[in-house]
Symmetry: C2
Subunit: 220 residues, 2 copies
């Protein structure tokens, strides 16, 4: 994650990117094991760059590695996800405040475009991708890479449960998300860090509370 990537993506980076997509999109589910040889053959390389890719994804919080036993997408229980959300509640406002002053006109246009699309109504997968882009874009100018990476890790490791939640609840309470996003955008446009932090924390907190009312998501 911390790679600056010279200019050409190394094979291990390329493989890591593909696996990352497959995990985030749910094609590879929690509990599922990653077989080095299978991945190597499927992506046309030797096992070595796959091993490096697995380390990269481990650092991204997408895989857990156990010595001599391989890598798998971790199962999380409801308590762990709760704590991950509490971490988000504390870290993301910091990233937002650090990033807000540097947001450009182009960023605001893109944020508005994303929000318009979400409001137009999209399926679960599209919503998850747009929502992720929306929030990570608001943090993108945070100058501290460690903070950006930490936030990204938190989004990564909770993505599966966000999807499961959306698939259960459907679009019923989507108007709340939209209202929160709009309020956040408006505060950002005013460069009001207090309001922005308030709306962001509320947004994450509400999601955590709703999520914890669906323990069935975590039975496996």
């Amino acid at each position: 994650m911390s790679e600056v990537s010279g200019q050409e993506p190394a094979a291990s980076e390329r493989i890591a990117a593909i696996l990352r997509d497959e995990i985030l999109s749910g094609k590879i589910a929690p509990g599922q094991r990653i077989l080095q040889e299978e991945v190597a053959e499927r992506l046309g390389s030797s096992r070595l760059p796959v091993r490096e890719a697995i380390r990269i994804l481990d650092a991204d919080g997408l895989l857990e590695v156990e010595a001599n036993k391989g890598a798998r997408v971790p199962y999380l229980d409801i308590n762990q996800v709760e704590v991950l959300y509490r971490m988000r509640e504390r870290l993301e406002p910091l990233a937002l405040i650090e990033s807000m002053p540097a947001l450009t006109e182009a960023d605001f246009e893109r944020l508005d475009e994303i929000q318009v699309r979400i409001e137009a109504g999209v399926d679960v997968q599209a919503f998850l991708e747009l929502d992720r882009e929306f929030h990570l874009l608001t943090y993108s100018h945070c100058p501290t890479e460690q903070l950006r990476d930490s936030v990204t890790r938190l989004w990564n490791s909770t993505s599966h449960y966000r999807r499961a939640f959306m698939e259960i609840t459907g679009a019923r309470r989507m108007w709340i998300v939209n209202a929160e996003h709009r309020l956040l955008l408006e505060a950002l446009a005013r460069q009001d860090s207090q309001d922005a932090e308030r709306y962001l924390v509320g947004h994450i907190q509400r999601t955590r509370k709703e999520l914890s009312q669906h323990p069935e998501i975590f039975t496996h």
Copy 2:
């Protein structure tokens, strides 16, 4: 970092542990490059486990890796370290609250022993190691591995600057550290999460403010 380590430490883990010590103790300084071959020869292995170890340390926040250019201990500027401290101020109280209820009698004895040693007066290197053990031990029962790892990463990547600070200021204001540690311990013994959080945040905040008054630490 997330390795559960079956029973026998894999070579890559062993090498990572050695390099981690060398970086944390300052034997390898920020800016210094890690040559795979040199490490491999020095530790009696091939380059391959060294490559894995480098990935592990990258995930630990101790190295930065650039494609085709190798790994080095990152330089941080004063602003980055400030943000890392603000991250600590937000994350460590969470880890502490999650861990506090599970602290055992043996933990408290060890914490007291550490604090007694610090008060007896030790050199910089010993203080850094004891202080690290002290705080990480108070978080050690936090059930969420991601949170423990995040906190450890923050300690890792700021360790060099903590040492530089201590070497400049010496033992002059050590009584403040001791008072803060004692108040924290007492609050933990009472299972008073409010007080514990208050003292911990104050402790980290004060360090951040004192550190930011020594910008000369960050000139390289």
